[in-house]
């Protein structure tokens, strides 16, 4: 998989389809992000482990000029790029995606429903995996659920990893950095921290699970997002990343009615 992805990227560079490739390179035994340009050595090009490459792309985007960038995308990365293009954070015409299908083991770790991009260039499609943690939480009674989440939120040490690494968490003025909602001092933060974070990305979360992967205390944030994504689908029939429509939360009722809400 590694060689095939490296070859695909190198070919794109050599053909002049792109000006740079954003990828990982092994430095010692640590995969490190790097911008590859024409003539660079691809022998240490790496695609594992799952890396928040789209977050990186978004962060360096303001500093790019007219360069066309290629990157290796997994199923979740592809949706993240689509969501960012839709929201005009990055320019889709300057991004070239090389599709990489995840292995069944990776899909199981991520509890991923769609572990492959639309066009698979490298690897073969694995079966989607249901999120049994989210299902378990849904089957609890309300009191059990509250106790469960309170226990989880108590572990938080406010590292902000979940929001920093999130590809779609990009507001200039962040509610989590507002002392109105999150006090500067004190660990754990208020129980509202993760509820606010979850709500803020609810209409753009593409369920890559980067929040949970970056969490040092293993709060099942991905399952919280899964539940909210199910709610979004139920309320508005909207799926972030898949839908071309803008978020229904910023549309009027004529454009995106709410099911089951009477006046």
């Amino acid at each position: 998989m590694r060689e095939a992805a490296a070859k695909a990227c190198r070919t794109l560079l050599e053909k002049g389809d792109v000006d740079a490739v954003l990828g990982l390179e092994m430095v010692g035994d640590i995969p490190t992000p790097k911008v590859f340009v024409s003539g660079d050595d691809f022998s240490k090009f790496e695609v594992e482990p799952v890396f928040p490459i789209v977050t990186l792309l978004r962060n360096i985007w303001p500093f790019t000029g007219n360069e066309r960038v290629a990157l290796v995308v997994r199923g979740c990365h592809e949706l993240a790029v689509k969501e960012l293009v839709k929201r005009e954070i990055i320019d889709g015409r300057r991004v070239r995606m090389v599709g990489l299908a995840c292995s069944p083991e990776q899909a199981a770790i991520c509890r991923c429903l769609r572990p492959y991009p639309a066009t698979v260039d490298v690897g073969s499609r694995a079966e989607g995996v249901q999120d049994d943690v989210a299902r378990k939480i849904r089957s609890m009674t309300r009191e059990e659920r509250l106790a469960f989440w309170e226990e989880q939120f108590k572990k938080c040490n406010k590292c902000y990893g979940c929001s920093e690494n999130c590809p779609v968490c990009f507001c200039e003025e962040c509610a989590l950095e507002d002392c109105m909602f999150v006090k500067t001092e004190g660990i754990p933060p208020s129980k509202s921290f993760h509820m606010i974070r979850a709500f803020h990305v609810a209409d753009k979360c593409i369920e890559c699970g980067e929040c949970e992967r970056s969490c040092p205390v293993a709060i099942p944030l991905r399952s919280l997002q899964r539940m909210l994504a199910e709610d979004m689908k139920e309320l508005f029939g909207f799926q972030a990343g898949h839908d071309e429509r803008p978020s229904p939360l910023v549309a009027t009722l004529d454009e995106a009615p709410v099911k089951g809400v009477s006046e």
Binding site: S190, M195, I196, L228, D231, L249, T252
Partner: protein
């Protein structure tokens, strides 16, 4: 033991519901004193963060009142409120908070009686639910 008295926040929009509350007061309609009114310019101004924060910090119920759909002073502010709060209700249920602690309704400036009705109903409803477990231990 004394009966549980819930603490309730009501976000009222400046153009309709706050005037409706005023009318209810001027008309001397009897209402439970558990409700603290906060005036906002539009119900669309009420961030879900405010609701989450107040529930976490020990408020037992949150009432959001705005103009009727179609009557919003800012044309479509309340459309957004309605959608945002539909999702917020789901989030509250997902983390284990009863969604009946949150109510969104429309009260126009001439509906003093409706304001009284909504407030009384909501206070009774939250009283029946008991103290908010999410906010226990908070001030």
């Amino acid at each position: 033991m004394a009966e549980f008295q819930p603490r309730i926040l009501a976000f009222c929009c400046n153009w309709c519901s706050y005037a409706g509350a005023d009318l209810a007061g001027v008309s001397r309609l009897q209402m439970p004193p558990n409700v603290h009114i906060i005036r906002v310019m539009c119900s669309g101004n009420v961030k879900p963060e405010y609701v989450i924060k107040s529930l976490v910090e020990g408020i037992d119920g949150v009432l959001v009142l705005g103009c009727h759909i179609g009557d919003c002073h800012y044309i479509s502010g309340n459309h957004r409120t309605l959608k945002r709060f539909a999702l917020l209700e789901k989030l509250l249920e997902d983390v284990g908070v009863d969604k009946r602690r949150l109510r969104i309704d429309w009260v126009s400036a001439s509906e003093g009686e409706k304001f009284q009705k909504v407030v009384s109903e909501f206070v009774d409803q939250v009283r029946a639910l008991g103290p908010n477990q999410l906010g226990r231990g908070a001030a």
